[in-house]
Point group: C2
Chain length 395, copies 2
Amino acid sequence: MKQLYATRTNTVHRSFIREILKVTENSRVISFAGGLPNAALFPAKEIAQACVKVLNDDNTALQYSTTEGYLPLRQYIAQRYFKKYGLRISPDTITITNGSQQGLDLIGKIFIEKNDKVIIERPGYLGAIQAFSVYEPEFIPISLQDDGIDTSELATSLKKAKIKLFHMVANFQNPSGITYSKEKRLAIAEIFSSHNGILIEDDPYGDLRFEGESLPSIRHQLRDNIILLGTFSKIVAPGLRLGWVCASPEITDKIVVMKQASDLHSNYIAQRILYQYLVDNDVDEHISKITKVYGKQRSCMISAMGKYFPSEVKFTRPEGGMFLWLTLPNDLSSIKLFEAAIQEHLAFVPGRPFYVDGGGNNTCRLNFSNSDENKIEEGIKRLASIIKRLLITKP
Amino acid sequence: MKQLYATRTNTVHRSFIREILKVTENSRVISFAGGLPNAALFPAKEIAQACVKVLNDDNTALQYSTTEGYLPLRQYIAQRYFKKYGLRISPDTITITNGSQQGLDLIGKIFIEKNDKVIIERPGYLGAIQAFSVYEPEFIPISLQDDGIDTSELATSLKKAKIKLFHMVANFQNPSGITYSKEKRLAIAEIFSSHNGILIEDDPYGDLRFEGESLPSIRHQLRDNIILLGTFSKIVAPGLRLGWVCASPEITDKIVVMKQASDLHSNYIAQRILYQYLVDNDVDEHISKITKVYGKQRSCMISAMGKYFPSEVKFTRPEGGMFLWLTLPNDLSSIKLFEAAIQEHLAFVPGRPFYVDGGGNNTCRLNFSNSDENKIEEGIKRLASIIKRLLITKP
């Protein structure tokens, strides 16, 4: 059988995180490992109402539909881009996808030829690494600093080689929790504007801001060579599997053809239900409910870390999103920490898989959106005592 | 921008059928072009009830879920394979996909390397041709006869070259409407059993049998080198976008990894709603309601063709499914016929795109599931008069 597989089949691996999640299914485990939103905040009743309403009116909500996606939903997204970021986007340049993960896959399909060069943040988003890997690129990692990637590294990389894609998460990055500063966004736009490649501004968490002010999208500076990815997974519910790709008309045309070949179209009834939910409810109020809860959980985690962690452990203080990032003393392995923690029913994600070139051995990603404050306090306390123990006993 | 695209982007084209569908959106058009089920038969009320029930019980129906798909739904599919075909299938070897189109894409992703050889029926299923094209195979078309593909051609092709995949639709094939005989199924299994390649038995229409008896799956003979594709699109509703791939454990493992990279998992709330619908309702009764309607429409189309068509026009008499196939006199082009028909507000699909090697210029696919008997009578009458006119005026 083996010789039947395409070589790309051997370049893609099971997501390490999804494997970890299996260990954490035990309800005794306090898990900071997943990237799950808090299910208690899902608008289940409103979604059920929207479903009844849609199907009362119209049997064709269960029919085949267009590859581009439900037009009113695309119009809604376009209007929201204007309202939130002042961006003028045509609904014709928005394609509805099965979560933004499918957006990443379609971008890979359209652009990546074997050994093409793709820039990934260091540490970078695992979903992007996995989606692109299928098309066998060469990844060029660029270091993340507190305010975004190192722009001089970016400029050097673009000069040195033909870079096709650059994937970035500007707001509350996964895994690090950092946010690109306004200055860095402008610098990146400046550097990238003369480059013949595509910048992917992936923004799943932008709406989940707890403090500080919303920063402008690089789409204000770049036009044809930027692709925006968005999703309803974090602000409504991930089980709906609805995200979008927003690109130039030319690239959108390619996306539609590739999506047609991939799965004809996204779940139509889910699109109709989501749209009904969006127009019948105050989404911004719902989002502020989410951010209030996540913001409190983040603060609780940070204050617990301040209280319990030894001072050698560094951590980020995200202004939004779902994750924060630990840096342990250099010689403390986060894999070893993970193994010790899981013995004590505590889970997180060791940082290693987020580095396409190895490294990050002393880093960890912690999720704060899916645990209540009691669990966070207890979990961080437990983690702190394991760290202290390992720091003492390390060879 | 052009030089940024991967070469595969230029090998895939917009589906000709989906382009035709745009012309037929005008409600004055009688369309035999699409492949749409009849929306009047969708169980909209029951689906809405299932949604309310699911979301009443459980907020996590809106959460992220496993790539493999909702286990009870996979168990239901496995049980149905046993009940309908006597096949013993483990739910662990079933992966839920976004319609069977995604199954085709995942198979292409896993197996097809550039220039690999893939057998396609002649005429073949357009969705498979489109999905596989992305991975740049060389298609080997094998002629369809009234009872399935030409098995001597198949044997010769397998001897001549290393064939990786063979895609077949055994029941009420799309586009031709033909069904593989029991003998031909056994002969194919015999020929294929010693071959190191994968047979894809794609069965979207098997449940839609109006007459005759259900024939056995080739899965009875082949084990590790057969993949079954199935879908709920034709028996429940296509807007749910839920199908499945059933393969060996080893291949299933690859499918799960590739699906994870493609879109994490299929729409979870849709899976939960579908499962609730399936257990709360008598699905076989629902299917028999569908087949009664489609069977009548098929008979109406066939009898109208007998009444109005000149005797030089040949057509298939499918025992189920949604399509039948016309063969015009050799020198009458179905593209010319299409152009004349659309002037008179009548649409169908010219046969040409179903032939990967050209040919089929005098063939047409007609859909009978999505028009009522009055429209079918009127449409066939209209088509007959255009055919007669063209036969007289042809140069």
